[in-house]
Symmetry: D2
Subunit: 283 residues, 4 copies
């Protein structure tokens, strides 16, 4: 599969779709997916368009330049992706391993079109899994004193390895703003509550104490503010007074796996546009 | 609001979106919604596009003719609608009145852009409601012997009144193929089960006997085959052994109202395309 | 139907169920429902038991006294109810009328075993509905200056009318602690968010701004702290970036109706036990 | 943990709960869970009661005999279980391995109180997983000619190994009535549809063709009739026309894992009572 994908956002006005689709049509591209959205509150236009490069008249290397004329005309923010570029994903994990296991099994089952060259952890417990999947394991123990220094090393590692996406699969260290800002909209976190309810630590305990009748999980891009980044996906499960805290954790972990994996898949398939700290998901 | 809506389906090939959006752009139309779908199994392209007619260079009366050239080029099946045409809806009802009441209250709350000039029933129990909403009530008692004859009268009534959509709001008479075929994709039925499970009569009783853990409701277009037409919307609610048959009925009726009203709204907003006995819902 | 219902909570220890069920059995009562729950964190025992009074050897008037010996032995908090006592419900409403309408139609459909003798409002818009259902309407316009004084009149009205339950069906005035404390666990509110997310005013606007992928509704007992009382029921619906704020409100109102009506039914059927600001729902 | 569990069903009449709970109380047992259900249609009483054996005055070996007097008095069907008996589970699997993997990881995470001494398959693909979890693997290739003969060997294996529960984790061979009848209510199957819709093979394909808006998964006890045994658990996920058949399969597999694992847990915890081809789940 050798496709191009354009993700576009710009002020809405007449002719955008016509110009973009003409650009593809006149160069003999075959559109496989096209999805638009207009936010009428902010008068913003969003588009994701994917077309086959077979027979496309413009060389891959020149598409961006050719398209930039249209982009300028409409003051677009835009990104161009190619599906033959295999993204490189790093998974950060601590001691709870269900999400890590789930991601690796989905990867093996070819649900994700990516490489997972490395796993990062502040603990050693996940090393055995990494070994069994033949993935390099980087152990960064973190204390209050060493945190900044370790993060700097982690950033270097990400850069050296050409990592495109970081997945926080129940990673318990809060990343500093310095770290987060290096990877804007490229760090996906799973939070085990229905955000914005139960921000911070031990959300299942919070939910249990509060006596909610439904618990949830939320995947989102990490931003400077804890658990407040753009929400990508959420899901829930009903509970009742009959359920113990252990039940909440067990049922919740099933949610986490599904909600995190959907977010990773949407990201890898270039289906997410972020604006105003919210997401458009072209599913 | 004075918009035009095109619903299109045709074999997929290069240039469709470009041609359609250019047609609108060149004539100074402002696209408010555009949604496409490509069924890769059958290589079929579907599109719903809605644009403002303000400043549009082609007269309303000539849009269809102008567009027909593009339509022919791509062998399109297509329909053109105008949002200022207020559709006329007839509600058919029998003795269970929750869906009728729900539809009328939503209409009053302006959730539906339509008129409801008449209610048809094989019983008299809903007459009081019709009166209180100032809607004419047509009573067609039906026996095995009079069924065909009554249906013929009902068809005449629908035609005389210029009815665009018939909503079967728990109408207990099974419409004959003769009736159904007069109004293709213009009769919406609510069936109180998760179709295709529990076709036919007393689906809550069937569900209760079967011991399912989830019940559902399904809205669909009526076709010759009972409860087998294209599904528009479904929803469900969890139940357990603790729930009596009466509980199933009560919870199910809440589903029916929501599921039927969503279907009516999608239809009125021209968001449904039918193909292969399935629906594309441009929501 | 002439049943007795006991709602019990006490420290857990051996023999509670045996003693309670023996009390009923030895007096020839036939248990129709029995449900227990043990909160192992706090070692608290909860029970709801309902039995037929037909042939029961103790007079209704003496049951409480007879049972009090067992209650004392186990340091129970307990309440005894009789199903032939028809509860009296007052509905408080402002300008959004969907919940009011829904409650009245469910009452008419005999989903609630209660009387609804009066509707209270700080506006006049619901008067017409009250009239059409033959329910007395009490208009209490409220300003910052008159609020306390009006609440005092409302409390008097509730007492004079022997009101057992107050339902806040989208009543926009925040009740003062003074008011709330007169009716502990006897005021049910519907909040149009998935609590504890989006406390306070305009929760749909908050949800829309936040970009959540699921919205919810929560029914709870009113307490001094706004939107923080024991949660009775919650439900949710999925949304996406395609949904406008108006869509959220429309879908949310459907949730509100279902979630509020379930809470009212649970309360009327004496199925709710409150402890630690949480609820046990014996459904 | 050393508890006893009684599962009881019998015609409903006065005194059952009193007698059973007195039996436990008088012998100094501490009830940890008690749940009853009365099916008012068939006037049948169901009970699950679990108590701590610490300080219980009757020896484990004599409890059944002691209780049998009460059981006879009320014509009970009943079973007595002890939580210190670790059940032995055999997993049957074919080529799709997600449910197998899921069960093994949950077992490792101590969600299931059981042993999994062996995996049975008609293919070899799962052998590597079995090895990595140190579980013996039994390969029974099946053809039309060898089916009966292989089943006989499988039954022997189950008996020799003292298998208490067989879990069909996407096992593609249809078990003969002869096989099924040897293990009544001891074979749990996962069917990848919302039963009774889409019985038989390729249910996701059926669902895709039908155009349903929601797909489901169902776990149930295997009986002679294919996919028609007592339903234990069901769950669903919303889909739309945007979803390909591959999407349905991927989302459905997530459902299957959750729905199967809940059923296995309920069974292992002795929370399921079967009657009239339905289940009471004391959750």
């Amino acid at each position: 599969m050798d496709n191009a994908i354009l993700l576009i956002s710009c002020p809405d006005r007449k002719g955008i779709i016509a110009k973009v689709t003409n650009f593809i049509y006149e160069n003999a591209g075959n559109i496989e997916h096209a999805d638009q959205h207009i936010d009428s509150q902010t008068n913003t236009f969003f588009m994701r368009i994917e077309w086959a490069l077979k027979d496309f008249k413009i060389d891959k290397d020149n598409i961006a330049k050719s398209f930039s004329h249209i982009a300028e005309e409409f003051s677009m923010e835009w990104k161009l992706y190619f599906t033959d570029k295999i993204q490189r994903v790093a998974i950060f994990v601590s001691k709870r391993l269900h999400c890590l296991y789930d991601l690796l099994l989905r990867h093996r089952a070819k649900q994700f079109n990516c490489e997972i060259p490395l796993i990062v952890s502040n603990h050693l417990v996940a090393k055995e899994i990494a070994d069994s999947f033949n993935i390099r394991y980087f152990y960064f123990p973190v204390t209050k004193e060493t945190k900044i220094e370790q993060e700097i090393k982690q950033i270097s590692l990400m850069r050296d390895e050409g990592i495109d996406l970081i997945v926080l699969a129940r990673y318990t260290q809060i990343l500093s703003p310095q770290f987060v800002n290096v990877f804007p909209n490229r760090i996906i976190n799973i939070h085990h509550s229905f955000l914005p309810a139960f921000v911070g630590s031990k959300p299942y305990h919070q939910a249990y104490r509060k006596g909610v009748k439904i618990i949830g999980a939320t995947s989102h891009y990490a931003t400077e503010e804890l658990d407040a980044g753009p929400i990508i996906e959420q899901d829930i499960v009903r509970i009742s007074h009959r359920n113990s805290l252990q039940d909440l954790i067990r049922e919740g972990e099933d949610l986490e796996k599904v909600v995190l994996s959907r977010a990773v898949r949407f990201h890898l398939e270039r289906k997410i546009l972020v604006y105003n700290n919210k997401t458009v998901i072209f599913d």
